[in-house]
């Protein structure tokens, strides 16, 4: 304790030399701690992104297979095709209708992987509602026909888009806030299991047709005739479509969110209406983490793609590329900050070693005196360790305060520099990307066919906040440089011969 007191006294008694060392360390430590906080912020931001992007996978019929089927159908004579269809059995007809669909069983099997946190099954198709009219849809159809064209046929204006899934609340449009339930309630998983004929209706459409919660509407079952060709659907809830501009400032201005006249029903009900029992359009899977994306892809290759007769029939689309696009600048910032941190820490190490070599070298006579009057090596060492710790502590405290002020700016600057460098390296690719992306199929979670791929992009921001971990790292850095600094007097004490230094004039 007395040695430590002597060290503290020595720290105070050598203000100029110690101030110089403190200032030099302060500069390097400010940079180190800023870089560290930027790295921690970038890592934390990546983890945050992982929660919403990159952890989604979709099992669906591949684009390649779709093109193949379209090509086949285009090459066939329509009359011949109709004749062939007439000869088909019920089973063959179902198989023909579901060529571009995924068996529900496959979707369920795929969900049994440990990486899948939750999943849903989706079917989207058109259903005719004889008693329901949509002015918006009718005017859209008449506009498509152009001036002088005849008004839309009843079958067209009564044909509405239906989306079926296992739980109304987990439909992508509701999850991402594009649509909000304003009246009634969502259909549930129980409704799906029991195939309860309930439906969610768009507010404008409901008002136009005088529909309220509890009312029923009649839907035609595809391909069915006579008795049993219709189904009564009870309105369970009414939803409102959120205007694109109101969804949030970060929303892509090109995003498309039509009010439309879409109906939401339990999947089993829509399968019955579409006459495709046991088939869905896609299975969507929310994974436990973006990191699981590769494991799921591997499983898909082994268990689905390679195992099926038509290897290219299904595809597993993920949003991992979106995660990469979003997290890449953050990873770059993290990497740069690690390099900066390492450099700054090396500078700190160099400064403390050189400074202590100069300080202790200059006080060699003092060391000799201490040993001559009976100080043990331990006493001398503790005294110097206390003084060095004071120097480092002062620098760390000052640097912690300063880095709180500069790290956000440093982080923003690194992020901007990274983005600018990326644009400079790939200008042509960057320009060409929106068009290329537009051609690709969207994911269901992004609103499916009614959204533009550009809206997938998120604005990357770096929120550098001080965390407890930073304090722990600060203490570690303090200990590290203090120990390194103490190594210098240790070396001096070991090789010092008091008689030599005391005899010096």
């Amino acid at each position: 304790m007395r040695s430590i007191k002597r060290g503290l006294r020595s720290f105070v008694r050598h203000p100029l030399a110690n101030l110089v060392v403190v200032l030099l360390l302060f500069v390097c430590l400010t940079f180190s701690l800023s870089m560290l906080s930027v790295k921690m912020a970038a890592d934390s931001q990546v983890e945050e992104v992982k929660k919403s992007v990159g952890n989604y996978a979709e099992l669906r019929v591949s684009s390649q297979y779709q093109m193949q089927v379209f090509e086949e159908q285009r090459e066939q004579d329509p009359a011949k095709r109709q004749a062939e269809a007439r000869k088909m059995s019920e089973e063959e007809l179902l198989s023909e209708r579901t060529r571009l669909m995924v068996p529900e069983e496959l979707v369920d099997d795929f969900s049994r992987q440990p990486e899948v946190a939750s999943y849903d099954k989706v079917l989207e198709t058109r259903v005719t509602l004889p008693g329901v009219e949509s002015t918006e849809l009718a005017s859209a159809l008449s506009m498509r026909g152009g001036p002088g064209s005849e008004s839309a046929s009843p079958s067209q204006s009564n044909s509405f888009l239906f989306e079926g899934n296992t739980d109304g609340a987990s439909a992508a449009d509701f999850l991402r806030g594009a649509k909000i339930l304003v009246e009634g309630s969502f259909y549930t998983y129980q409704d799906y299991l029991q195939a309860n004929p309930v439906v969610l209706v768009e507010k404008t459409l409901a008002e136009e047709n005088g529909l309220q919660v509890g009312d029923t509407i009649t839907a035609k079952i595809t391909g069915a005739e006579g008795r049993g060709s219709e189904m009564e659907l009870t309105v369970k809830g009414i939803y409102e479509t959120v205007e694109v501009g109101q969804e949030g400032a970060t929303r892509d201005p090109m995003a498309f969110n039509p009010a439309g006249s879409k109906f939401y029903v339990p999947l089993s009900v829509l399968q019955a209406l579409n006459n495709t029992p046991g088939y869905v359009e896609l299975g969507c899977y929310y994974l436990d983490s973006a990191d699981s994306s590769f494991a799921v892809q591997k499983y898909f290759q082994e268990m689905v793609s390679d195992a099926s007769e038509e290897g290219n029939r299904y595809e597993l689309a993920t949003d991992y590329s979106d995660f990469e696009a979003i997290s890449d600048p953050l990873h770059k910032v993290a990497r740069t900050s690690v390099i900066g941190l390492a450099g700054a820490l090396a500078a700190c190490a160099l400064i403390i070693v050189l400074a202590m070599a100069i300080i202790v070298g200059g006080r060699a006579r003092e060391l000799g005196v201490l040993k001559a009057i009976g100080a043990t090596d331990r006493q001398v060492l503790l005294q110097y360790a206390a003084e060095i710790t004071c120097i480092c502590l002062a620098a760390v405290i000052l640097a912690t305060g300063a880095s709180a002020a500069v790290s956000q700016r440093l982080g923003d600057w690194l992020l901007q520099e990274g983005a600018a460098a990326e644009q400079a390296v790939q200008p042509s690719q960057a320009q060409g990307m929106p068009a290329m992306r537009f051609m690709s199929r969207n994911l269901y979670k992004e609103g499916g066919r009614f959204s533009l791929p550009g809206s997938r992009r998120q604005e990357v921001e770096l929120d550098v906040v001080y965390r407890g971990g930073l304090l722990a790292y600060g203490v570690l850095i303090l200990l590290g440089i203090s120990l390194l600094g103490t190594a210098v007097p240790v070396a001096w004490i070991n090789r010092l011969r008091p008689a030599r230094v005391l005899a010096m004039e």
Binding site: V369, A372, I373, G374, A375, P498, L502, A503, M504
Partner: protein, 235 residues
């Protein structure tokens, strides 16, 4: 007066056939060559010799700051050249050094320089202060000089502080290396008187190495050292 006969009970220090060799580029330098001497409590022993004669090396050997290559040094009835000798305790409690260049710690005050050996020995702070003030007063340092940094003191004041520091833990053996070397003659005389007083009044064993023959006036025993060899001088 010849070299003292062995076997006296008051002998505090006995150096027997001690040699110290330094290896330099040009070969070996025998700084101390088979030196034997004795020193007694209450007496001043002076070793006279020119620069480079080996007298400081001999002093450092006695103070355990150097280890001899040959011979034995017995102080306070213990062999200090043994590998298991407690040299820290010996330097802290048994020996007090006074150097030509004072060797005070410049960043500390006069008072702190004197309390330092006591602090290392674990003496309570208040006791340190009282004892240091008393010792400094005895050597003529009082008032504002107590709080003055060592770097701001004059040569004479520094040497007085150095003597007070040497006495801090009340050692019986005072080793003084050219204590008047950096002082004017008047101040030098005062310092020698203080050292002699320590022997006469407090019964300390004072060993002074110097090239200043004037110090011989305070000596009880004197030796001449030349080329590492020691011989007695008649006073």
């Amino acid at each position: 007066m010849a070299i003292r006969e062995p076997g006296n009970m008051d002998d505090l220090l006995e150096v027997s056939e001690v040699s110290k060799v330094f290896r330099v580029k040009s070969g070996e330098v025998r700084a101390v060559d088979k030196v034997s001497l004795k020193a007694r409590k209450g007496e001043v022993t002076v070793i006279l010799g020119p620069s480079g004669s080996g007298k400081t090396t001999l002093l450092y050997l006695i103070g355990s700051l150097e280890r001899p290559d040959e011979g034995r040094i017995n102080a306070f009835g213990e062999e200090i050249c043994r590998p298991d000798a407690d040299l820290v305790s010996y330097r802290r409690k048994r020996v007090g050094f006074v150097f030509q260049t004072f060797n005070l710690i410049p960043s500390l005050t006069a008072l702190e320089n004197v309390t330092l050996p006591m602090d290392l020995d674990g003496v309570p702070a208040e006791e340190q202060r009282l004892r240091a003030e008393k010792l400094l007063a005895e050597t003529g340092i009082e008032g504002r000089l107590l709080k003055a940094r060592a770097s701001r003191l004059s040569g004479g004041e520094k040497q007085r502080v150095a003597i007070a520091r040497a006495l801090a833990n009340d050692p019986d053996l005072i080793l003084a290396d050219e204590p008047t070397g950096n002082l004017d003659s008047a101040t030098g005389r005062v310092v020698v008187d203080i050292l002699a007083g320590l022997a006469r009044r407090e019964g300390k064993c004072v060993l002074i190495v110097t090239h200043d023959e004037g110090i011989l006036r305070a000596a009880d025993w004197a030796y001449q050292m030349r080329d590492g060899r020691l011989r007695g001088i008649e006073l």
